[in-house]
């Protein structure tokens, strides 16, 4: 578990990111929660690097519990896609306006395979 919270100031709390990963057969699932923005994207990227180090057959980034996804996070997803797809499959689970919409309005779903649920991703990518 890689929990990151920037020190809150007097006003609003800053972004919080939670990332954990687990294996389902040959697939690694990276479950993300909180907000993926310019503040937390470096931790997001580092956690993905850690999770994908064990040569999985496929990588699933599960954004089901993410409530904010900014361009910094989209950049990490695109970079991960480029790194992973040389030797493994890559899929992203995203549903709802906070996560699926930023990906689709930019047309990134033509590069990255999107799923609405983790079950759907696991079934399609062969980890079920």
């Amino acid at each position: 578990m890689n929990e990151h919270r920037a020190a809150p100031g007097d006003g609003e709390p800053y972004s919080t990111l939670g990332v954990k990963h687990y294996w389902v057969d040959q697939l690694v699932v990276i479950a993300v929660s909180g907000e993926v923005d310019a503040l937390t994207a470096p931790q997001f990227s580092a956690a993905i690097g850690e999770a994908t180090a064990g040569s999985p057959a496929g990588v699933i980034v599960d954004l089901s519990a993410v409530d904010f996804l900014a361009s910094a996070g989209l950049g990490v997803l695109v970079a991960t896609h480029e790194q992973v797809t040389a030797k493994a499959r890559f899929g992203v689970v995203a549903d709802g306006p906070a996560t699926r919409r930023p990906i689709t309005v930019l047309g990134l779903d033509s590069i990255i395979t999107l799923y609405r649920t983790l079950e759907e991703a696991l079934a399609d990518m062969g980890g079920a």
Binding site: Y14, D37, L39, R101
Partner: protein, 164 residues
Amino acid sequence: MALGVNTFRRVPRTPQSDMRSSMVRNVAGNAAEVAGLRGEFTQWLQRHFYLNESRRSDLALAVNEALINAAEFGHPDRAGQGIVTFNAAYDEAVGTLTVTINDRGRWRLRLTRTAAEQSVKRGRGIALMQILTDELRISPSDRGTQVSLVWTNVQPHYFVLSRH
């Protein structure tokens, strides 16, 4: 418009909406301050306006991208950290919400100087701003860059009528 009192209840105006719903902040240009301001803006939106989940997401993301651009590229020299000025104003006569963000740097200059990766990053941010707003204006000047994000047909809470 005449409303039957037994049919509709007019939601009372809050003291905040009497201030013509504006929000003004000055923050340091860094990612943590941007995240804090984004959170505050989201709460301000929820307090004042009727927006569905999708539109609320759009507004938060577009404003975030404008703030991040201002924070990352909006200072006159590479070393310093700029001040980002944020102003959200609602014009209730026409139902338009305008968010204006000012910095003291030049996005255009930075675009030609910056590394390719940063250009891609920023290109995505500007594309999101264009797609997720009804109108976007980016105005560079000698003093800095001003970006205005406009949303039309924004309904305040006190126009929402609910049945008994």
